[in-house]
């Protein structure tokens, strides 16, 4: 039997080799003149962009299968072999490194390569990697491509690097994906070094490469199925190619520049800044040199679009917003609510709620708990990099670093600084390199202080960091199941779901799940509009404030009306909602008819929830109130009535409503002259009604974490909810929703 480790290494190396060959073929086709070392590295990065596109296309036509990937990869490698990609290069090599630098760099590089490879090959259990990065990859492979996923906003993010993971995952599963990331992690320092050597900054290049390589957040991120370090490698490659173009003006370079800029966007939205960066760079340089700019810019734009547009098109088709899960105000859709987007962006902006902005530098460089990871204490010296402003190259590096650090203003997690880190590292190393003996000391200190066994002595115990050198787990001498059970609670919960929930069933939860380890459909409350509604139903059963305990009754002279329109006229922070809208003639409610038509703005898609006779569902604006929001009813013909009653929740004090009506003809007339407000007692049976709503939407299972807001109530009132406990692992409970009594 072939050891699992072989599959992992095959999956990763097959993917990286396929990418490398594609990139080399492209560079040769374009006849771009590079140094030998640059051919290897840019070959890998440019090829990754092409391979990602190939996998995207295969996913789009439902051909994401192991056999197809093998055939495609084998064809690429065979073509590369035939074209001499694996043979000796005719390109010249870069000037050699000095002996001290060479030995110092090699020693540190190899030590960290062993550390990182063992972690990358160990069973994958990173929070985001095992939840959505690989959760989606596993799903694409199961479903042989993209499916219409509208209940997971992470499926709407660009997943350029994940396309490479998918290629590797097909052969070596989770760890193969992490090893692909490891490949980029090890390529990035070499890219920095190569760039520096080309421009005569070899010593600074060695220093910057080590600063980048050993940074603890690079270690933990770049050896798991995250994508930040890979994206950083693409961003820096783009900068290197732009610098080469600046020096040599090889027009063919515009093609890989465009492809990489587009691939940055495909890799991560925040790295999409690479497109304006590169476009601005090209335009500025051509303009200053009084050279034609339109054609190069068009070539650049076309190449970038090839990489970026497929992702926007996929989102537009599936979720109605090319930039989902962001910009929902400009592309309204039912899949990601505007209020959620605002909360999400706000949460990312403040992360672990720092008491003061002065906490951020210490957490970034030493503690690493609040911002999820640390750069290492040496980066406390980062302000010294400003001394590099004295040299043009230093200015360009710092400007690029500052530009790619812009997304950090919106997400202060440490890893969101990674795209700017190679630039800052090189600028800092340029400063140190000017003082004899300083740089080797800084490099050695950084390498030692960032080693896991040293790091744990001073960083927070909750810092996101590598903790061990798991060689036995990497080689699967220690069983994968045992390792994951010992170290990953998320895995244990995912396996509970797999064991107790039948295939094809949906599980609703308020928290996250390691979806990469379960094949069941997980609906997490915050991850989509549909799921938000499921959470709302549960909350209505749980909290009186989320249930309709308030009524607005509009009484008017009896008259025939066909159209009624409720208009909201205030601004504020509350959201507007209607649990039930009822119309009366005297004491008798007008029976609802299939001829009726309802519409609302915003959130027209949930208008039905105000007319379903359920007290746990409600139409909701899902954004803060503003004048002009409305809810309109067309009765299909005139009906006699004299009052309208709205059953609402109390959480909307700021809403100011006016009710208008009109018959078949005529103008809108204000009906809301006499409005009476009243409280009504909380109706019993809401818990069971909430579960019925979940069942009606195909959800029959609930996963409840120990800190779940509904956890205690589920436990104490299982009979009222109509749920039965199926299993429990470490405090997380799995319930089945019982069928309603006839």
């Amino acid at each position: 039997m072939i050891p699992k480790a072989v599959y992992i290494l095959f999956g990763a190396s097959f993917t990286l080799a396929s990418a490398y060959v594609l990139g080399r073929l492209l560079l040769e086709r374009l006849r771009i003149r590079l140094y030998r070392e640059e051919e290897w590295l840019f070959g890998l990065v440019c090829g990754a962009s092409l391979l990602h596109l190939l996998v995207f296309l295969l996913c789009s036509v439902q051909l994401a299968r192991k056999g197809v990937f093998f055939s495609v990869g084998a064809a690429i490698l065979a073509t590369g072999w035939a074209k001499g990609v694996f043979g000796p290069s005719r390109a010249p090599g870069l000037p050699p490194l000095g002996r001290l630098w060479k030995w110092l760099f090699t020693a540190i590089y190899l030590a960290y390569a062993v550390l990182y490879l063992s972690n990358a090959m160990a069973p994958e259990m990173s929070p985001d990697g095992s939840s959505y990065h690989l959760g989606l990859v596993a799903r694409y492979l199961r479903e042989h491509g993209f499916s219409c996923i509208t209940t997971n906003m992470y499926a709407n993010l660009t997943q350029g690097v994940e396309m490479l993971y998918l290629f590797a995952f097909a052969f070596g599963r989770h760890s193969a994906a992490a090893v692909v990331h490891f490949g980029f992690t090890m390529a990035l320092p070499l890219l920095i070094l190569t760039h520096a050597r080309r421009f005569g900054l070899a010593a600074a290049g060695v220093g910057a490469a080590v600063l980048m390589l050993c940074a603890p957040v690079v270690g933990i991120d770049g050896t798991t199925a995250y994508n930040d370090v890979a994206v950083t490698a693409v961003v820096f490659s783009l900068y290197c190619l732009l610098e080469i173009w600046r020096e040599e003006r090889q027009s063919a370079l515009i093609v890989p520049v465009g492809l990489l800029a587009g691939f940055c966007y495909a890799g991560k939205y925040t790295a999409g800044l690479a497109i304006p960066f590169a476009a601005g760079f090209l335009l500025w340089r051509l303009w200053r040199a009084r050279q034609p700019w339109l054609k190069p810019l068009l070539v650049f734009a076309a190449c970038a679009a090839v990489m970026a547009v497929p992702w926007a098109a996929k989102n537009w088709i599936i979720v109605g917003n090319p930039l989902s899960p962001f910009f929902n105000r400009y592309f309204p859709n039912p899949n990601v609510h505007i209020s959620f987007e605002q909360e999400y962006v706000e949460r990312m902006r403040h992360y672990g709620d720092p008491k003061s902005y002065w906490d951020i530098p210490m957490d970034l460089t030493v503690h690493g708990a609040m911002l999820s990871g640390t750069l290492g204490p040496v980066f406390v010296l980062l302000p010294l990099a400003l001394l590099a402003l004295r040299r043009p190259r230093g200015r360009r590096l710092l400007a690029a670093g500052a530009f790619f650090a812009l997304p950090y203003l919106n997400n202060i997690g440490t890893r969101f600084l990674l795209p700017s880190l190679p630039f800052f590292s090189l600028a800092l190393a340029m400063v140190f390199a000017r003082s004899r003996g300083v740089l080797p000391v800084v490099m050695a200190a950084h390498a030692i202080l960032s080693w896991p066994h040293v790091l744990k002595l001073y960083s927070s115990q909750y810092a996101w960091r590598l903790e061990r050198i798991p060689v036995a787990a990497a080689l699967r001498i220690q069983k994968e199941e045992k390792y994951l059970t010992d170290f990953s609670y998320g895995y244990v919960v995912a396996r509970m779901i797999e064991d107790f929930v039948p295939k094809g069933e949906k599980v609703f939860t308020f928290g996250g799940v390691a979806e990469a380890y379960t094949t069941r459909d997980i609906l997490t409350a915050y991850q989509a509009g549909f799921n938000n509604n499921l959470g709302e139903f549960v909350w209505a059963g749980l909290f009186p404030d989320s249930a309709p305990t308030h009524q607005l009754t509009y009484t008017f002279r009896e008259r025939p009306l066909r159209h009624l329109k409720l208009v909201q006229n205030n601004s504020g922070t509350d959201q507007w909602s209607i649990s039930e809208w009822r119309m009366y003639k005297g004491e008798k409610e007008l029976p609802r008819s299939p001829e009726w038509r309802l519409r609302a703005w915003p959130n027209p898609w949930d208008a039905e929830l105000a007319f379903d006779n359920s007290l746990v569902t409600r139409w909701r604006s899902w954004e803060a109130i503003k004048p002009g929001m409305f809810f309109e009813v067309d009765l299909g013909g005139e009906r006699l009535m004299n009052s309208v009653r709205l059953e609402i929740t109390k959480d909307q004090y700021q809403a100011a409503l006016k009710l208008y009506g009109r018959g078949e003809r005529g103008d809108w007339t204000l009906l809301s002259g006499a409005m009476k407000e009243s409280d009504v007692p909380l109706m019993k049976g809401l818990r069971r009604a909430a579960m019925e709503e979940l069942r009606a939407r195909g959800v029959r299972y609930l996963l409840v974490a120990p800190d779940d807001p509904a956890g205690q109530d589920y436990m104490a009132n299982a009979a009222l909810w109509g749920i039965g406990l199926l299993a429990e692992r470490g405090g997380t409970r799995l319930y089945r929703i019982n069928e309603a009594a006839p």
């Binding site: 309802l598 609302a600 006779n613 104490a716 009132n717 009222l720």
Partner: protein, 175 residues
């Protein structure tokens, strides 16, 4: 002129807002009857999957479906009763030898809604059964009835400082 036209066309496009679609009323849900079943009954065994629903406080988590569960010094349970007259409260529990070595004989005081119900002294470890008739005025059928059993001496774990009272097996009200 051509550029101006393009800009004007783009501005017009930008001013367009989609009209929201019309929807028909959906299938109507059954009207709630305003009643719901009681969440708990009058007797609980610790091996019941619904045991947690009866626990108000003071019962530690155990293995799922285990026959007994450790209590702290003052476990409190809740029950729903359909009638209040002629009922006896009972509790089956075990005084573990391992803890009895440290505590020696113990007294357990029972109360309902904070009002004393009775007490018992136990001079040796092992399985115990407590039973007492309950005056009707201590009980209600409209709200949950909360019963507490407070043990005067507990074993304190040297490892984690956990206070252990006794092993609860079954409790409740019966005729």
């Amino acid at each position: 002129m051509f550029r101006l036209l393009i800009i004007a066309a783009l501005l017009c496009l930008g001013a367009c807002a989609p009209e929201p679609e019309w929807y028909a009323p959906p299938m109507q849900r059954a009207t709630l009857r305003g009643v719901e079943p009681r969440p708990v009954g009058s007797v609980v065994s610790m091996d019941s999957p619904l045991a947690d629903a009866y626990i108000v406080s003071g019962v530690l988590k155990g293995d799922p479906l285990s026959r007994w569960r450790w209590t702290s010094q003052r476990p409190e349970l809740r029950f729903y009763l359909t009638e209040t007259k002629g009922l006896k409260f009972f509790m089956d529990f075990v005084l573990a030898e391992a803890t009895f070595q440290f505590t020696g004989p113990v007294t357990v005081r029972f109360s309902i809604g904070g009002k004393p119900l009775g007490s018992a002294h136990y001079g040796k470890p092992g399985e115990q059964h407590y039973e007492v008739e309950v005056p009707g005025n201590l009980l209600t059928a409209s709200e949950p009835v909360k019963v507490a059993a407070e043990v005067d001496k507990v074993y304190v774990s040297p490892q984690d400082g956990a206070k252990l009272g006794f092993l609860l097996v079954r409790a409740g009200f019966e005729q």
